[in-house]
Structure formats: C-alpha cells, structure tokens
C-alpha cells in the first residue's frame, strides 16, 4: 500500500455543465461554456463566489475564469494540461497541502474546423483555431515534432494503429470491437444529455463509414461544444453542504517509458499500466468492489486496454472477455454485473476527454442518475485518458 494520506479527506460537492451540443447556430464561445459550467457547479454546491479560493482548469486560463466569475481572493490557481485527471490531482494536492480550501475545477471543449465539416466555415471557429495552431496541437508533448496527417501519426491515428496491432496480437475482429460502441449506444438511451440516442446493431456498426481502420465513425467519440465543472473541498466542509459528499478516495496519474504514442514499446508497456498500478496500491477498493465503471472511451480500443491494465482480465484478453460479458437480451456489457459507462461515455454522450465520466461517477454516487441509476451505488472507478501519455485513475466513494 503506497502512501495516500489524502484518502477520503476531500469531496466533490458541486457539479456544473454547459453545452454538450452540436448546435451550429449557437453563439456559445469556449469561454462562455466554461463560465456557465463553473457558475452551475458553484450554485450546485450551494456556495458563493467568495467561497472559491482555488481555480484549476484546462485550456481556458484560470485568470480569465477568476475575472469572469468576479473572484476576489484566490490563493491557488493552475492550468494543467488536459485531461481532467490532471486537474483533479492538482486540486487534491493543493487542498491537501493547504494552498486552497475549495477549488473550482473545469474542462471545456469547442469544435474546431479540423474536427467537423459542418462548422468548418464558421469564421469564429476558424479564428479560434489560430490559438490551437500557436499551441501546435499536433505535438502534445510540447515541441511539435510530429508530422501532419496524412504523413504523420498523431491524435487519432496512433489509436487506430495500436488498435490494429491489438487485433493482430489478440486474434480479435471488428465484430468483437463493435461491442464497445453497441454498449455505449444502449446506455445512451437512458441519458437525456447524450448526442447519439439510438440503438446500434452489429450490422449498423459493420456497415458504418470507415474513417481510420479499424475505426469506423462509431469507434470515435462525438465531438461537441461543452464544459464540465466541479467543486472539490475538504470532507469536513462537505459535510455541511447541500449534497451527499462524494469522497475522493484516490487519484493517480501515470507515465511510462517512451510514452509518446508512436514510440511506445508495445501494448504491455503503457502509461495506463503505471496509473493503474499506482491506483491499486493506493486504494482500499478494487475491481470487484466498484458499483460504477466510468472508463474513458474516446476511441473504442481505450477502455479495452484500461480493463486489462486495471486487472479486470488478463493482458491481451480484453476483447475476448468483453464478448463473454455481452448480454444479448439487454444489448449491454455486464462486467461481473456492472455495465461499462452507464451514461454512454464519450462515444455517445459527447467528447469531453473524460470530464463527462467524472460527472457520471458523481451523479451515480449521489443517487441522482435517473433512469440509469445504479442501485445503491457507493463506489466508482473513473479511468480517464488514453493509453500512452495521459493516463489517469480516480476512485470515488461515499460513506
């Protein structure tokens, strides 16, 4: 058991969301979505702006958010890289160290011309993409030593390439891979926020438009405009607030050797492995205990490798295990009685790089998930991030 002194000492007390839409007539900017989600999270917690003394988000600058919300006494702020686990770990560390007591966490997404043909001509989005170009999104590790598609492998293409490798090594087929998307579509039927709310058959999947082999359109998450925000504070403070506190039991990050996605040694040496091992060593609950499994599915291959690295099944057997877990009657995966991503995940709810998974875990543990509520849910596993360089695990539970 590794040292995890902050275990169960902090709690999520507020959640807020904005957007999660594909409305091409919307005038919501990335900043507007962010501020609305942040307001909603603070209001949800029953707090006031003056209660927030820490601000931690992704692309939108924390100072902008402070100015937008009129915050006047902030003692800690940070803008870690995406994905949401980075913000959670940073906020956890800040509160536990005493740098702040109540931290606003946010992540937002805004469709850019390269992601969606339907908005490619929007002059505001073309302008917004200039910021991305300055950041050189092609090189997530910061130096842009990555060639543009179709000459380089970055963004989506490494996941496709490694999915091909996975199928090659495991002997699996695209019919097997289809189960991830089919499960997501069944679960989304019970999520009013989901973009894709229609059932998906294996025939639908096999006949769908191929994008990057082995990925068809249903293997890739649905790009949206949207934002999620969360308020994290001490468990002590949480006890006096509006909602049932959702305790942060463990939060880990991982990065292994050769973690950039083209160079990874193989599928057994991944950053997922590091984050999962750290989570196992810092948690009192593990795979058989969780009531809720919220596992990032930006591409269909990602949750399969997460399930292997978290120890739900042996390495290389994830796809076979999913086939064993498929419940034909409900058209869902039943992973020892639990579905994968009750909200449908990024494949159907919308692509917010894992913040939607964190929200789902909190909603389920509060018991307010409506038609998709997992009965008596008291612990949730949230695995966010991809395979190679941004793998993260958060474990949440209630008392």
């Amino acid at each position: 058991m590794s040292n995890n002194p902050a275990k169960d000492q902090l709690a999520f007390v507020g959640i807020g969301r904005a957007g999660y839409h594909r409305d091409n007539n919307s005038t919501d900017s990335l900043a507007a979505l962010t501020l609305r989600a942040c307001q909603n999270a603070i209001l949800d917690a029953g707090l006031k702006p003056e209660d927030i003394d820490g601000v931690c988000g992704s692309q939108v600058n924390s100072q902008y958010v402070e100015l937008g919300l009129g915050l006047s006494h902030v003692t800690w702020f940070s803008n870690p890289e995406i994905l949401i686990g980075n913000q959670i770990v940073a906020a956890r560390n800040a509160i536990w160290s005493g740098a702040a007591s109540t931290v606003l966490i946010y992540h937002s997404v805004f469709r850019l011309p390269f992601q969606s043909k339907s908005i490619a001509a929007d002059p505001f989005r073309i302008r917004a993409s200039k910021l991305e170009e300055r950041n050189d999104y092609r090189g997530f590790f910061g130096v842009g030593h990555v060639e543009p598609e179709p000459y380089g492998i970055f963004g989506s293409t490494p996941y496709a390439s490694w999915a091909i490798r996975y199928l090659h090594e495991s002997g699996g087929s695209r019919e097997d891979l289809a189960l991830v998307a089919m499960n997501a579509h069944t679960n989304a039927l019970d999520n009013p926020d989901a973009i894709h709310r229609f059932p998906l058959s294996v025939d639908d999947y096999m006949n769908a438009r191929m994008v990057r082999e082995p990925f068809c359109v249903y293997d890739m998450d649905v790009v949206v405009d949207g934002a999620d925000a969360f308020v994290l504070t001490t468990a002590e403070r949480a006890a006096d607030l509006a909602h049932k506190p959702v305790l942060l039991h463990s939060a880990t990050l991982g990065r292994g050797a050769l973690s950039n996605d083209t160079a990874s040694i193989d599928l057994r040496h991944t950053s997922q492995r590091v984050a999962a091992d750290q989570a196992r060593n810092s948690s009192d609950v593990w795979t058989d205990d969780f009531d809720v499994l919220a596992i990032y599915d930006g591409f269909s291959i990602i949750p399969i490798l997460w399930l292997e690295n978290l120890g739900f099944c042996p390495p290389g057997e994830g796809l076979r295990w999913l086939a064993d877990c498929w419940d034909t009657q409900s058209q869902r995966l039943s992973l020892k009685g639990r579905t994968l991503n009750p909200h449908g995940g990024s494949l159907t709810e919308g692509a917010t790089q894992g913040s939607g998974h964190v929200r789902e875990a909190i909603v389920q543990l509060r018991g307010t998930a409506g038609a998709r509520q997992v009965p008596d849910a008291s612990s949730a596993l949230v695995a966010t991030g991809g395979i190679f360089y941004n793998s993260q695990v958060s474990i949440l539970r209630t008392n």
Partner: protein, 151 residues
Amino acid sequence: MTTAASHDLEVFDKFPEVLIDHDNVAFYRGLLAHQVVLNRCGECGHWHSEPLRPTCPACWSWDIRHQAVSGRGVIHSYTRLHQGPPIDGLKYDPPVTLALVDLEEQPHLRVVGGIVNQVDPAALIGSRVEVVWSTGSVAPRIMFRLIEERS
C-alpha cells in the same frame, strides 16, 4: 548530405507547418536530401527518434550525432486512412496506408511513414520495408515499400 538545403531558412521554407528548432532541424534537412536522419549518441551509440532530443535519454551525453539510418525495417502496425486533408491531391481512394516501422538499427527505434504498395492489409504487420520518397509534395516525405512480405 546534399547542399540543396544547407541553410536553415530553406528548411523552414519547405516545412511551413512544422515547429522546427535546433533540436530537429537536421531531421528535416535530411528529408530534403532523401535521408532519414535520426539522433545517435556519440558516447553510448543509442539511437532515438521522435521526439528528437538534444541529449541522450540513455546516458545523458550531450554528444548527439545526426546520422542517416538504413531506411530498412519491419512494420509494427498501421492504419488505413479513408479520409483526411486533401494534401497533394490525395483522394483516399484507395485508402492511404500509414505505418509504424521498427528500424533495423535498434529494437523499438520507430518512424512513421506511408506505404506505397497496395497489398492485402493482413500482410502488412511483420513485413519488411525500405524507405522510398513521396513525389508531388513540396517537400519529400518518408514512405516505405514492402521488400518482403511476412512469411
């Protein structure tokens, strides 16, 4: 190496989309000369590819040599793009094959390149390839052709 693009600004001009710095300019200069130039440690001999670093990750030597590889290797995996940016008039029909290639110089020394052959995709992983160069582009890009299918 040819003198065709010995000046850094010429390299910048040929690769306007790439963030070129002192740590990777040799790679791009190599492309213009139809050579795959990677980094090799002058002290321990360790090769490295992306990201091209100014120091050796194996021994921390700063004696980094920019050296051309043989261009031969084995396909580790691939994807086939059915859509993408319309660069060089590409129609993606048939799909464009992009591969991760393990070079023969060192285990897991990997570069990315297109595959020029139209072959059964099932034969790609494990097949031996050698580098060729794209034509029609403003600047040469790394491509590979199969020299021996996986048996």
